[in-house]
Symmetry: D3
Subunit: 158 residues, 6 copies
């Protein structure tokens, strides 16, 4: 049935025309998780108590990465994001859960910005603890909420 | 026991000193997966037949992202990568599997570069097919092989 | 008669004020050509048949470069491009012809974005085949169409 | 006979492995030209006399662009350039001639860096005078000299 | 009394939501100074007479940096600047005074863009003369004027 | 006596040739200060107690900016920094003092990287508290120590 919007009838990739779309308020929320050894998670938890704020560094990296999305993803439109928030929480016994929320008043959605924020925050967590745990995995990165724009509201099932 | 190398004794984040490390040949291989509806995967598979090369675009995005790693991950060292290769394969019925291989002759490893290539390639796949499938997930992003450097060879269990 | 708009009365370069200009829909189309040995062109043509998609890689590079224009050209304004398309065709016996089309709803034109897309696509073609042909040349990069904005429509003579 | 080095046997693009190449001193010189109306060239020439230094701005843009080459050209290796010089001269009656010279001590050549410097300097000239002359063309961008590396010295015929 | 707007109630940094703010014309003017040996200043002054235009290079660097502000300052919003001008003047016997003026039609102010332009212009002056004077200092970088937006006009006391 | 190294005999700016310089270990330490109202400083000090870590965010921004130096300062060479550390301390009653330390094994010094880290950290402090204090100033940004390279050790007088 459907075909891919980022390619023309001859199969050539393009940054698709959004000039005809309305400038509306748009929101996207994405989530993901870094899974690790319980002892690794304990090190991160200790850091929150003053020995090295892994989650604070990763939050910043995620926020900054959201602003670089159109540089990284070839066919993404540049957008003037109006809000980026990234939250990381420790979920015992073995995961850091990450959520990013991105808003824009623009012609196209911000799913990719939210997903980019989550993945770069996850990579940053990984980077800071990789010396003690090489078996970590980034899991379950997905869109959980999308509002605004023609296609309407999307909310992932729990 | 251990503490985090990216923080000093007062808990301050820093790009750690690698001047004392030897310049050796280093390799890292990372993998990950984008999981989607079988119908979505079918669209991507068709594209390989000339209607829009999703995997080719994602490969390029992954390669270019590897070169941007130290811009994205706050405490990563800049490195002159000598090789970056990214491979994406369709795994029926519902996944695109991604592998990135990065090499350097340098003072620090390239795990983060390989992981960044995998995640940005995954995000790019996501971007190009999100109009038809909003429930996709990026899964199981992890290091599978690391060679070179003081800490020796690491190979993930299958 | 005329003087240069990017310099003030004392000859100092500046990014000129466009706040007073209307936000209108604007379009620019630019073209250029990479001239090479017929045998080199044949290698590229073969690639289209599955051995290495030179034109597909160059297309992506051109699209991404259009988004970086204001980073590269010192006095260009940042713009939220609404469309970027780049097309490359093989013109026997010795050229790859490149055309870029860029759209924006904004206060200033997108000629530089279209020209940047063409030149970076051309450089990317060059990069991928330079090992077999060092005598290639990039030729005839020019604006062919411009619409929108106060200065009206411009179309180059054929 | 030959095949393209930037693609593997399956036609997949990659940043090719240069780890086995020697770190040698390498030089590349590239040239190009912006062709315009004599009246436009006269405006640029006046600027040299203090009313707006078009060539000085373009020189800087070219130098800075050389450092961004591996960000722009997908399969280029990052390199620590040891020298970049860009020269622009007015050639009556209708051209600005541009030459870029780039040096590195590294594992791969700097042709692309020299060509990128020339083209971005040319685009910057174009940007600054486009308000008075929309018919300008960038012409004859090519490599004129290459030294260092396994493939030996290359000098373009005059 | 007050608390910091860039942190939420739990102390987490975020790029704050400006979607509710009106798009208005905004202006910011910032100033700063590079203090050096009189002999160093004399070298710069000579350059204006044709031996090397330190101030022209620094002006360009400041303008380009203003466009990179949201890349550098973690919680700054991306903005489509409509004007950037940077002026540098020699103040005998020992200072280069720098002023940057930035305009935007947007939802948030451009103080950081003006301050970034001033500091990068100052760093560029420093870079070009550091070989002859290592004791230079960058001094008195501050906002001198701000207009537009809810908080009204601000003008620094002389 | 002296002339400026970043310009050739005709006054043209260039990234000077460092190929002939030895690869040695180099260190630079720079310092600067953000001066503000005592009440503003008190807000920052509170943040350290968990309500918003201004200094932590600024530290990260400074570290990341050091890696971008050659992108910002037109004639700076790209360098593979081996260490970047940034420290910010509250100095009652009205200043945040910033120190950056940068190391490299390379052909040219890292003064500009250390100074860039200090200024961007200072700008980031400014950004986060500007809503409560528009009169802040960045003061006394200077090099305090430089080691390695032909020109020998430099230490600023106290």
């Amino acid at each position: 049935m459907s075909s891919l919007t980022h390619f023309d009838e001859a199969g050539r990739a393009a940054m698709v025309d959004v000039a005809g779309k309305a400038e509306t308020e748009r929101l996207a929320v994405a989530r993901g998780r870094v899974v690790m050894q319980p002892a690794t998670l304990a090190l991160i938890a200790e850091g929150k108590a003053g020995k090295g704020d892994v989650l604070g560094v990763a939050r910043l990296a995620g926020i900054m990465a959201a602003k670089r999305t159109s540089d990284l993803i070839p066919l993404c439109h540049p957008l003037m994001l109006t809000k980026v928030a990234v939250d990381l929480v420790i979920v015992e016994p073995e995961a850091v859960e990450i959520e990013a929320q991105v808003r824009v008043t623009g012609r196209t959605g911000v799913e990719m910005e939210a997903l980019t924020a989550v993945t770069v925050a996850a990579l940053t967590v990984y980077d800071m603890v990789k010396a003690v745990d090489r078996g970590m995995r980034i899991e379950d990165v997905r869109l959980v909420l999308k509002e605004g724009g023609k296609s309407g509201r999307f909310e992932a099932e729990a």
